[in-house]
């Protein structure tokens, strides 16, 4: 018996009956998926998926593959951190992919070098005044793009009361238009070394991990986090309790926009170029990471830890398919199925909860 007289008023409280955190289930799913790929690898490929089976004893894991998995999801993971917060308030953000495109173009044009191999930069957008600027300029310009785009989303949703789906759908189309208009569709290339360093090597992963820890803390231990959950849980109750719901929503969508902009800076720095088509479908991948990680589309539930695990599941599946040498077409088909599956699971969870009480 695990009963203790822990409760207020001496009521018995059974610790063993406490609901386990949903993140545990996501972690179990992650391990199971890895095991499936291990089994398929042993059967079909005659090699291990994650473990180093060659005769070197310097490492247990296949470091190269682990690196690729994390690097693949780091940039979309940054977007997913913001999308997680939006979904917890009961909203949705479809615009993050387009914000990535627009921000990458605009930020990159402030990060260009004046000369490439002795001749003037062939992809120059502005005159000489915008060449060889300190790296803080493109970063700040990029973040400002995020503030503007996210802020517009937030103001539309909070003050005109249109559904988040519509508001961010509009931003998705418009921001993509901005991305194409900015350089008339031409790619923007040749960034300064300092700018390129943002996306070099494992730096994107470190940025992602830093931001994940930061927002985990913010959601869990600050008033901002508490109000985010409260609004998603019961907006009327939040309003009755004195929370300025409109102002809070503007803040949440602005933060989501800034995180998408940061992802754009990292992505353009990593690719050493910006194109108007950058970030297409990223919003859906980011939403999928959050939903796979247990963030409920009806709001109020989810966590940064869950989203990070969701991102890892995402990365494992993509590199698992590459490992099994399956075509990219199959990846997309299965990705779609996984997103739908995660939402179905979420629905089941909610119905089970409703039946219990």
């Amino acid at each position: 018996m695990a009963e203790t007289a822990h409760g207020v008023g001496g009521l018995k409280y059974d610790h063993s009956k406490r609901a386990r955190p949903p993140e545990i289930n996501v972690l179990i799913a992650l391990v199971l998926i890895v095991l499936v790929f291990e089994a398929l690898g042993a059967l079909l490929m005659d090699q291990s998926f994650l473990f180093d089976t060659r005769d070197r004893f310097d490492s247990i894991f296949n470091k190269a593959r682990l690196k690729i998995i994390i690097l693949q999801v780091a940039i979309i993971g940054i977007i997913a951190l913001g999308v997680t917060q939006v979904i917890i308030t009961g909203g949705i953000d479809l615009s993050s992919g387009s914000i990535v495109g627009a921000t990458a173009m605009i930020a990159m044009s402030f990060a260009q070098v004046a000369e490439v191999n002795g001749s003037p930069n062939p992809k120059a957008i502005f005159g000489p005044w915008a060449m060889d600027l300190p790296v803080t300029v493109p970063i700040l310009v990029g973040l400002a793009c995020g503030v503007i785009a996210g802020g517009i989303n937030g103001v539309l949703i909070a003050y005109t009361k249109i559904p988040p789906f519509i508001a961010t759908l509009g931003m998705m189309v418009s921001a993509r238009g901005v991305a194409k208009w900015w350089s008339k569709g031409n790619p923007i290339s040749f960034p300064t070394d300092e700018y390129a360093a943002i996306g070099a090597g494992m730096t994107p992963v470190f940025i992602f991990i830093f931001l994940a820890i930061l927002f985990h803390f913010i959601l869990k231990y600050t008033v901002y986090g508490k109000h985010t959950y409260a609004i998603g849980s019961n907006e009327a109750a939040a309003r009755m309790s004195g929370i300025n719901v409109a102002r809070h929503l503007v803040l949440v969508y602005t933060i989501a926009g800034v995180l998408a902009a940061l992802a754009a800076v990292v992505l353009s720095a990593k690719n050493l170029t910006a194109q108007s088509g950058m970030g297409i479908m990223y919003e859906l991948d980011a939403i999928a990471m959050a939903v796979i990680g247990g963030v409920s589309l009806s709001g109020g539930r989810g966590s940064i830890i869950g989203t990070c695990l969701g991102a890892l599941i995402f990365g494992v599946i993509i590199s698992g398919f590459t490992f099994l040498r399956l075509d990219a077409f199959y990846q997309e088909m299965v990705k779609g199925a996984i997103i739908v599956g995660a939402v179905v699971l979420d629905q089941w969870r909610q119905q089970r909860n409703a039946n219990k009480s």
């Binding site: 913010i218 008033v223 901002y224 508490k226 959950y229 998603g232 849980s233 009755m240 004195g242």
Partner: protein, 256 residues
């Protein structure tokens, strides 16, 4: 005991052509627990909605602690010190008990504007104290509200009003959906409020409960107040007679 907490003069609310509330003159003294009774559609809830700022009155005056008030919304009323526990509870299902108790007025450890850091420990402690004070029994306060019974949720909602020493508590049928034990628990909280001298307006259809908990009974009928009865001078049958329209107090004659 003479100070008047709430006074309404000629409070009237029309919904289009429907006179939902007509010239209600009502008074509540310090430390007094008053019950509002009446049939469905008699104007009880309409009356409460005017006081708590949920709706704007058609005409009439509301005086709160002697001062005339015009609430723009429920938030205004709450800031003035009127706490209402409604039937459809205003709780965030995914948060636990301390989070709900302190929602919108969190205890802060370190002020960073919207990113101020929460003092969970202090909030948990204050929650424990509030629950002990109101004798609310909840097995685990860190359980999300979602997992609790209707009675426990109601108790949390009521404990919230008790925690912040509101100047006036209004309960709209707090036990309508509750079982026997849960009803008893809510009634116990009401008694603690009485001992603490906190004024209360209770809307209820339950005659035993009203007779048990309140000092005075105000009866509404067809949008008008038809009786103002001291508990000692009346009984259940008498009140029913007023509710159904068999009787009307002389001073309210001509009203209905």
């Amino acid at each position: 005991m003479s100070e008047i907490v709430l006074k309404t003069e000629g409070l009237t609310k029309h919904y289009g052509g429907v006179h939902a509330l007509q010239d209600a003159d009502f008074e509540l003294k310090m430390g007094e627990h008053v019950a509002i009774m009446g049939d469905n559609g008699a104007g009880k809830s309409t009356f409460v909605r005017q006081i708590t700022g949920v709706e704007r009155r058609t005409r009439g005056k509301i005086l709160f602690y002697g001062k005339e008030v015009n609430f723009d919304g429920p938030l205004d009323a709450r800031e003035a010190g009127i706490e209402a526990v409604f039937q459809n509870l205003a709780l965030a299902d995914d948060l636990d008990v301390p989070d709900n108790l302190f929602l919108g007025r969190e205890i802060i450890k370190f002020n960073l504007g919207p990113f101020s850091i929460l003092d969970y420990k202090a909030m948990r402690k204050a929650t424990q104290e509030a629950l002990v004070r109101t004798a609310v029994k909840i097995p685990n306060i860190r359980n999300p509200i979602r997992n609790m019974s209707g009675g426990q949720r109601q108790c949390v909602a009521i404990a919230r009003t008790a925690t912040f020493h509101s100047k006036l508590t209004i309960m709209d049928e707090p036990t309508a959906a509750l079982g026997v034990q849960e009803t008893a628990q809510v009634e116990n909280i009401v008694r603690t409020l009485k001992e603490a001298g906190e004024p209360l307006i209770l809307i209820s259809h339950n005659m035993r409960q009203v007779m048990d908990l309140c000092d005075r009974i105000v009866v509404f009928r067809r949008g008008r107040i038809v009786a103002n009865l001291k508990k000692e001078e009346t009984d259940g049958q008498d009140v029913v007679a007023y509710i159904t329209g068999a009787k009307t107090q002389p001073e309210y004659e001509g009203a209905a």
